[in-house]
Symmetry: C2
Subunit: 358 residues, 2 copies
C-alpha cells in the first residue's frame, strides 16, 4: 500500500495530537482538527490502512489510535516540521545557559540542569572523556610532608587533578624534577596511551631514588586510569511526574530503577556516541526493554577537536520532537561554543555562554 500525501497528513495530525493529549486519537477529532475536509468515516478508512502498514496501533478495539515506534520514526524522519524558536525563547535559553563558573564539569552540569528546567524533561549528560586528550603538561606539586597533587592538562586546557598520598617525604625540588621527567616522557601522548609499561619506562630512566619513585609512579598510573572514566549523570528525573503515563507507581519505580543503573545509561549513550549529530532513539530502538515506551534525543557538544560530551533528554515516546530537538541543539551549540572559547582562548576571564551580544 502506498503512503500517499493524504495518509501522511493524517499520520502527522495523529502523532501531533497524541503528543499533546496523551490520549488515543479518534477519527472524529482528526476530521475536525485538520483542514482536509474529510468525514470521520473516511479518516477511519485511512486509519485502518495506516494501522495495517504498522504505523499506528490500537490499544483496544474501541479506542482511538496511537503511533507505533514506526509511526514516530516516520514522523521524525520525514513528517515533522522544523521548530523555529521565538526570540523570547532564545532569550530565555541564553539566560539559562549563562554561567560564570570556570570548571568544565560544573558548567556542563549547570547547563544540563537549566535545560531540564526549560524542557521539563529529565536530562542525560555525559562529561567529556579525556582518553583522547593529548597531554601537554604534567605537574607534581608538593602540598605537605605526605601529600602531593598531580595536575594533568592538555592543549585545550582540560585539567584533571588528583591528590597523592606519599609513603615517604619528598622535597619541593624532587617534585619539580619529577614534573620535568614526567613531562619529557609523557607529554604528547594521549591519556589512553599512558599505561603501566609506559610509566615503568619512565621509572627506569631514573636509576636513583627507585623505591620512592616506584610508589609515586604507581599512584600516577592509578590517577591516570581514574581520569579515564567517562562520567554519565542524569538530572531533573522528577520531571517525569508531569506525564500521565507515569501516573502509577509501578511505572515510576521501573523507570527509576532502570535509570539509576549507570550501566543502562551507558548502553543508551553507546548507541549515539558514534554519531556526530543529533540522534533520536524511539521506543524499542532503545536497547533497554523497560524503556520501550520512551524516547531519547541525544546531541554531542565539543570541547576541542576530538573531545566531546553528550547532552540529551529522556521522556515518553510522544515527546514534542521538533521543539525538543531545536532546544537541545541550541544548548549543545552554546555549550560547544562556550567550552571551546573558554578552554582555549586567552581573552575571557569570565565565561559567557552566548554570542556575547548582550
Amino acid at each position: 500500500m502506498a503512503l500517499d500525501d493524504r495518509k501522511r497528513m493524517i499520520l502527522q495530525a495523529i502523532v501531533e495530537d497524541y503528543i499533546n493529549t496523551a490520549e488515543p486519537v479518534g477519527s472524529r477529532s482528526i476530521s475536525k482538527k485538520t483542514d482536509l475536509n474529510l468525514s470521520a468515516a473516511t479518516i477511519r478508512n485511512e486509519m485502518g490502512d495506516l494501522e495495517e502498514m504498522g504505523l499506528l496501533v490500537q490499544p483496544h478495539t474501541s479506542a482511538g489510535r496511537v503511533p507505533s515506534t514506526g509511526g514516530y520514526r516516520m514522523y521524525v524522519d520525514s513528517l515533522m516540521e522544523k521548530y523555529e524558536m521565538t526570540a523570547a525563547e532564545i532569550d530565555e535559553m541564553k539566560k539559562a545557559a549563562t554561567k560564570k563558573t570556570l570548571e568544565l564539569e560544573k558548567i556542563v552540569r549547570d547547563v544540563a540542569a537549566a535545560f531540564s528546567g526549560i524542557t521539563g524533561l529529565p536530562v542525560i549528560g555525559v562529561l567529556p572523556g579525556t582518553e583522547a586528550s593529548v597531554v601537554k603538561n604534567i605537574k607534581v606539586v608538593k602540598i605537605d610532608s605526605d601529600k602531593a597533587m598531580l595536575i594533568v592538562s592538555d592543549k585545550s586546557g582540560i585539567i584533571k587533578n588528583k591528590l597523592l598520598h606519599l609513603k615517604t617525604d619528598i622535597s619541593d625540588a624532587f617534585a619539580d624534577d619529577l614534573s620535568k621527567i614526567l613531562n619529557e616522557n609523557l607529554s604528547g601522548l594521549t591519556i589512553s596511551e599512558i599505561n603501566l609499561s609506559n610509566i615503568m619506562e619512565v621509572q627506569s630512566v631514573i636509576g636513583k631514588n627507585f623505591e620512592i619513585l616506584a610508589s609515586v609512579m604507581e599512584m600516577v598510573h592509578e590517577a591516570v586510569l581514574e581520569i579515564d572514566t567517562k562520567q554519565i549523570f542524569i538530572d531533573g528525573l522528577s520531571n517525569i511526574f508531569r506525564f500521565p503515563e507515569y501516573g502509577n507507581v509501578e511505572k515510576v519505580k521501573e523507570l527509576f530503577e532502570v535509570v539509576e543503573d549507570k550501566e543502562n545509561l551507558s548502553k543508551i549513550i553507546m548507541e549515539a556516541s558514534v554519531s556526530t549529530q543529533t540522534k533520536i532513539l524511539i521506543g524499542d530502538e532503545i536497547p533497554i526493554p523497560e524503556l520501550k515506551n520512551n524516547s531519547v534525543v541525544l546531541s554531542p557538544y565539543r570541547v576541542s577537536e576530538n573531545i566531546t560530551g553528550i547532552l540529551g533528554v529522556l521522556g515518553p515516546a510522544r515527546m514534542d520532537y521538533p521543539k525538543i530537538i531545536s532546544a537541545l541543539e541550541f544548548f549543545t551549540n552554546q555549550l560547544s561554543e562556550a567550552l571551546t572559547n573558554d578552554f582555549s582562548d586567552k581573552k575571557n576571564q569570565k565565561l559567557m555562554i552566548g554570542k556575547g551580544d548582550e
Copy 2:
C-alpha cells in the same frame, strides 16, 4: 493519667508491630502477640487511654491504632531496646565501608551509597564544611599561559583547589612569589576569616604589579568563597518505593519535589548540626510540612577537631529505629576513623576503613 508499665509495654508492642507491618494495629493482634496474657478487650481499654494521652492515633473509627509523633518520640526516647548487630552484619558493613579511594568527597559519597544499600533507605550526606579549617598552606601553580591552579590545604589535609583563568601571562617565578606572599599573610587564618578586606591588605603589601595582582586576588577571593559552601547530597532515593506508604504517585511526587530542593535539605540539616551526637527528627518535628509522615536520623562524622560532616537516613516515620541507629552510628564511626587516620597520619597509603583487623 499515668503511663504505667503495662501501658508502656503495650505502646512498645504497637509501635514495633506497626514498624513491621505498616498496618494499623488492632487490639486482638496485640493481645495475641505479646505475652501479657491480656484479652483484646483489656488491650482496647488501654489503647483508648493511650490515644487519650496523644500517643496513638486512629485513622478512622473502625481501624486499629497507629503511633502519633508523640508515640514514636516516647518509643525512641525510652521504650526501644538497643539493637545489637550480629557479627555477620558488622562484617558486611565493614566490607561495604572499605574503600581505597583517597579523595574525601568520594569516600563519603561511596560510604553513603553503601549505607543506603544496606539499610534500604534514602541517605542524606553532608560533606565537611571547611569554614572552620585553619589554612596551613596556599599554593598558586602555573599551568599554562593563561591558567593557574590555586591549592588550599589545612593541617588535617583537606584540600580544595580551583582553576584560575588569568588575564595576563605570569611566570613560574611569579606564581612562586605569589604563593609565598599568600602563605605569609593568610596561613593561620580560618577559611571564614579570609575575606575581601583581608585579601586587599595582602594586595597593598606589594606595590608593584598591581594590576596583574588585582585580578588574581579577586579570583582567589572568589575561590575561597566557593570552597566555603557546604555540600549536601541525597542518595538511594528510589529505596522509598519499598514502602507501601509510597504506593501512589502523588506521595512519591511530593517527596521528590521536596527533596530535590537543597533548601529543604539544609533546613533539615540545620536542626541537627548543633548536636554532636545522633539526632532523630520524627514526623512534624521535621521543619518541612510535607515530610510530616517521615523521620530523619542524623549522625555526625569527624574529619578533624572542628571539621565535621553528617550522614543520615530519611524514611517513613515507622522506621526500625534501633537497627537504623546502630547501623548509622557504626558507619559514621568508621567514617570518622578512616578520615582522621587517613587525612592526618603518615602511614597509610591506601585507605582502610575498619580497625585493620582483617
